[in-house]
């Protein structure tokens, strides 16, 4: 006899039934995600500079010993 082993469907249905699930779609959720986006944009710019400079500098270091 076949047995379906999808517990996620069952758990989500149970959580929904007792109102323990909330979509992160409110204004404050959007503001939070927007703030993280802005910070990550800065992180990305910083990283790109550091990465490029690492590459350029690495070409001048010869390893022989």
């Amino acid at each position: 006899m076949a047995t379906e082993l999808n517990k996620t469907k069952e758990i989500k249905a149970r959580l929904n039934a007792i109102e323990q699930v909330r979509p992160m779609s409110t204004q404050s959720d959007a503001a939070m995600i927007h703030a993280v986006n802005q910070q990550m944009e800065n992180v990305r710019r910083e990283y790109q500079i550091k990465e490029r400079e690492s590459q350029l500098s690495a070409s001048r270091v010869v390893l022989t010993a």
Binding site: L15, D29, N42, V43, R44, K50, E53, L63, T64, A65
Partner: protein, 504 residues
């Protein structure tokens, strides 16, 4: 054919005689004392050795046919191989299946001696179990070999000394990386010195043999040609603290990294390539000594200050790292600040790590710097953190296959959340951040987790986030609504993942 079985005390006499007979090395050169002894001394005393010659070593034969044989002088083409065993072995055991199983359980690896008189240590795979000092964690691979005509498997990290003509430290390091990945994963294959030279042919303006070393960019290029998505990190560019954290993150991920050490900025003339493959075990004292990280990100800093939270990073733990150095025996332990302090020549003592190269799987598009920043932002933004808490973060890369395997077997992980995470779609590699406290981590426990898709380099709108669970919330993406859902689910303390380095 010579086959000699002896103990550690008898090795010198037997081997010295063979070196003279097989390699024509005159006795007055004291080859054993000057070159081999330092590799034998760190081995456990209760070790026996099987010496075989002539031995055809694929790596030396490649150097021999592509270089040494083209010289006027006469060079030998055969090697000597030493195989190591824990305690005494019953030689009649080689002739029965049960006996071979016993011998395999005592097998501690092999070391090849090349007829390159001044640099004899060739291809080696020695198990950390063969060492007197082995309280460290490191990655290893299984390499097939034969001893006394019987197939055995050595488990350790590949090592070789440079011959200084076909392979310098740079090529030796590249060879060891490929030997590790090629023997461990089907995606890669082991390489040979001449293939490393060939890979650089298109971008070299000068002849490559005799080798005069490689620059870091050339090493990165070779790894890229061999199928990796390499990344280079510079200490001056990323800053000392961040550089050390990134180094530690990749080691915690079980990825061997190529390390450039040099002292040219300290008026020296040394530039050397080594590998880092692990670290010493994390002790309770090391955790106690740990200081909170100085966060640079404005949003993270603000949120932590607002709630008087101290954030600790596992990558700041002041532990020693394990290095594979072609000038030294396998598995040297050293601090990141002084990686060559154990060298007998004091000229090396002011060497510092200036760069490292990470051979990443090519589809890991999200690298450590961005992933770690993103995980900190998710932690402080998406969860309602308790004031005055001490939070300890441990970040690493792993394959989703290994992570799910360990999670499935983890009896301490909440069963509801376990099912939700196991049944989540994941790419081949994921970033994991385990959220803990100093007290919990001392018992190797955590009470929160953030999982990221390592193939998602676009960090906008939480795109890399697979799921996160902390402070009574479980956040995961709802593919129907397109939003993330916050589920009220409590994750109790669970045992951390230790599969990358087989320990913490």
């Amino acid at each position: 054919m010579n086959r000699i079985y002896c103990n550690k005390e008898e090795l010198k006499d037997n081997l010295s005689r063979l070196l003279t007979e097989e390699f024509n090395i005159p006795n007055y050169l004291n080859a054993y004392d000057s070159q081999i002894e330092k590799y034998v001394t760190p081995l456990i005393d209760d070790i026996t050795i099987f010496i075989e010659s002539p031995y055809v070593d694929k790596v030396y034969r490649d150097s021999y046919y592509s270089y040494f044989s083209s010289k006027l002088g006469s060079y030998k083409r055969d090697c000597i191989r030493l195989s190591f065993f824990k305690g005494q072995i019953d030689l009649s055991g080689f002739e029965s299946l049960d006996g071979v199983n016993v011998i395999q359980s005592r097998y501690l690896g092999f070391m090849v001696l090349r007829p390159t008189t001044s640099n004899m240590i060739g291809r080696s795979v020695i198990s950390p179990r063969a060492l007197k000092q082995n309280s460290f964690l490191c990655v290893s691979t299984q390499v097939h070999s034969t001893v006394n005509f019987v197939k055995l498997t050595a488990d350790g990290f590949p090592h070789s000394s440079q011959d200084t003509e076909t392979i310098s430290c740079a090529e030796t390091t590249l060879w060891a990386v490929m030997e590790y990945f090629g023997n461990r994963y089907a995606e890669y294959k082991p390489t040979l010195p001449s293939l490393i030279t060939s890979a650089l042919k298109k971008v070299s303006a000068e002849r490559q043999v005799p080798s005069k070393g490689l620059n870091i960019q050339q090493m990165s290029y070779v790894l890229k040609e061999f199928g990796f998505g390499t990344k280079i990190y510079g200490r001056n560019q990323f800053g000392k603290s961040e550089f050390k954290r990134l180094f530690s993150t990749y080691i915690e991920s079980g990825i061997p990294i190529i390390v450039a050490i040099d002292n040219r900025h300290n008026n020296g003339n040394i530039g050397h390539a080594i590998l880092s493959v692990g670290h010493e075990s994390t002790t309770l004292e090391l955790i106690d000594e740990l200081e909170p990280i100085g966060v640079s990100n404005e949003l993270v800093k603000h949120k932590l200050l607002e709630k008087s939270i101290n954030l600790f990073d596992n990558d700041d733990v002041n532990k020693k790292f394990v290095f594979i150095d072609d000038n030294m025996p396998s598995y040297c332990l050293a601090n990141l600040e002084s990686p060559a302090l154990h060298y007998p020549n004091s000229n090396w003592h002011n060497c510092e790590i200036t760069f490292f190269i990470v051979p990443l799987y090519p589809k890991i598009y999200l690298e450590a710097y961005e992933a770690k920043n993103f995980m900190q932002l998710v932690l402080v933004s998406a969860f309602d953190l308790k004031p005055n808490e001490d939070i300890f973060l441990r970040s690493y890369l792993t394959s989703s296959r290994s992570y799910k395997h360990e999670l499935m077997l983890n009896a301490t992980f909440d069963s509801t959340l376990k099912s939700l995470i196991l049944e989540s779609n994941m790419p081949k590699f994921i970033w994991v951040c385990e959220i803990s406290t100093k007290d919990l981590i001392k018992n190797q426990l955590a009470d929160g987790i953030i999982l990221l898709d390592a193939t998602e380099a676009n960090t906008q709108n939480f795109k890399p986030l697979i799921c996160a669970s902390y402070m009574g919330s479980y956040i995961s993406h709802n593919s129907v609504s397109g939003f993330f859902d916050r589920n009220n689910l409590i994750l109790s303390p669970f045992s951390i993942f230790t599969n990358n380095l087989k320990g913490f």
